[in-house]
Amino acid sequence: MIEEGVLFQAPDQGVRDGWEGPAAAETDDSALYLELDGWEGPLDLLLDLARRQKVDLRSISILDLVDQYLIYIERAESMRLELAADYLVMAAWLAYLKSSLLLPKDEQEEPGPEELALRLQLRLARLGAMREAAARLMGRNRLGRDVFVRGAPEGLRIDRKNQWQCDWFDVVQAYSQVKARTAPAVHMVRDRPVMTLDSALDRVSSMLGVTLDWMTIEEFLPPHAEPRLRRSALASSFVAALELARLGKAELAQDEVFGTLRLRRIPA
């Protein structure tokens, strides 16, 4: 009910009459009590009472306003209406303000009652301004209620289209790469001097038969072999040594990692 009063007010009407509070239409005091829920806090109630003075908010009588508020709260209490705490706090504060305003000036503490009254007046003016602004805003022609956009717009759509780019050189180069990549490859393997595992086995086991002493693995290699044959011989002799150790015909020793590998025959 309250919202409707605001929502459906014609704009000019709302501006001229100002805020139509929940009790503004009621002149009978008793009706006030029943609509206590309509106020959004004590400041709201004060504003409504101030508006009833029918004068510019800036020239309202704070003393009159305080009296009205206090009477209002008293009567509410006498009717045993339950009042929210903040209404009572405001009542106490206003009672204090009233007594201060009536006291001789030199007995005042800081801030003085005139300052407090002025600040209250300023607050009410600000709330009142926003209330009027809200009413005017809600009274405007609103989209979807008073004014309408096109009911069935066709809609705009953007289709993306690719513009592909490639040049002559790319095509020719790609083709040459395909050709090169898929051309049959011919592999030539050169004959290399190697010592086979079998010949290494023969050579190592026959040489081990000569003595019972430790011999380094290098001593088993052909003495005047060219480097590439020597590498091959080292590899196959090492494998041969492992094989002989596995068969229990030889034992291996190496004092440190990458150290000299030594071989010795195990007597049968």
């Binding site: 301004a129 926003m130 008073d146 066709e154």
Partner: protein, 203 residues
């Protein structure tokens, strides 16, 4: 009617959303912003007296029905969200004071604001979180959106009803500032206030 005017007209008629000058220029390919702006004002002028108007809302343009025909078209039920009284007040405070924190809203209204009230405004798309105030506690601050301008038929925030008068009267300033202003001369309160107002009005 120029080709560009026709193109702008057709595009805005067909678009499901209001469009900025830049969006229009982009959609129309090689058109320049200045030319688009000229076309828009020619169109707005030529539609001014029709049943449909071309309007600007927060830098975005769209066609809408003329406000004086509201009585023929008004649809109450589904279209418009009904705001509580608290909702309308909070919305007005945000619009006239933006950006504004919840504490500032509450100090103007003199009551606490239920969380739901702000949520309704955020959900309606009329209010957005506009960052945080650089003070202790870094409170969230709120501001209005382009949809707010759209919905209430405002070209920009300067269009808010009575905003110039409210500003001139100091009614958008905090109470503390207004109090200092009024009591600057240190003389009798009433006279100082009168003088301050007189000065402001003459500005």
């Amino acid at each position: 009617m120029t080709d560009l005017e026709r193109a702008v007209e057709a595009t805005l008629f067909a678009s499901e959303e209001a469009m900025t000058v830049v969006e229009l220029a982009k959609h129309l390919g090689d058109a320049e912003n200045g030319a688009i702006r000229d076309a828009l004002s020619v169109l707005a002028e030529s539609y001014a007296k029709r049943g449909v108007n071309l309007v600007e809302r927060g830098k975005r343009w769209h066609f809408e029905t003329a406000p004086d025909l509201a009585h023929l078209l008004r649809r109450e039920k589904e279209q418009v969200r009904r705001l509580s009284r608290a909702g309308t007040e909070v919305l007005a405070i945000i619009a006239y004071h933006e950006p504004v924190s919840r504490a500032e809203i509450e100090s103007i209204r003199g009551v606490q604001t239920a969380k739901g009230t702000l949520d309704v405004l955020l959900e309606a798309g009329w209010v957005r979180v506009a960052g945080r105030r650089d003070v202790p506690g870094r409170p969230v601050i709120y501001a209005t959106t382009p949809e707010f301008l759209d919905h209430f038929g405002l070209t920009s925030r300067r269009d808010l009803p009575g905003i110039d008068e409210l500003r001139a009267a100091g009614l958008l300033d905090p109470v503390d500032d207004a109090y200092d202003e009024l009591t600057q001369s240190g003389s009798d309160e009433g006279e100082a206030a009168e003088e301050a107002r007189a000065e402001e009005k003459s500005d």
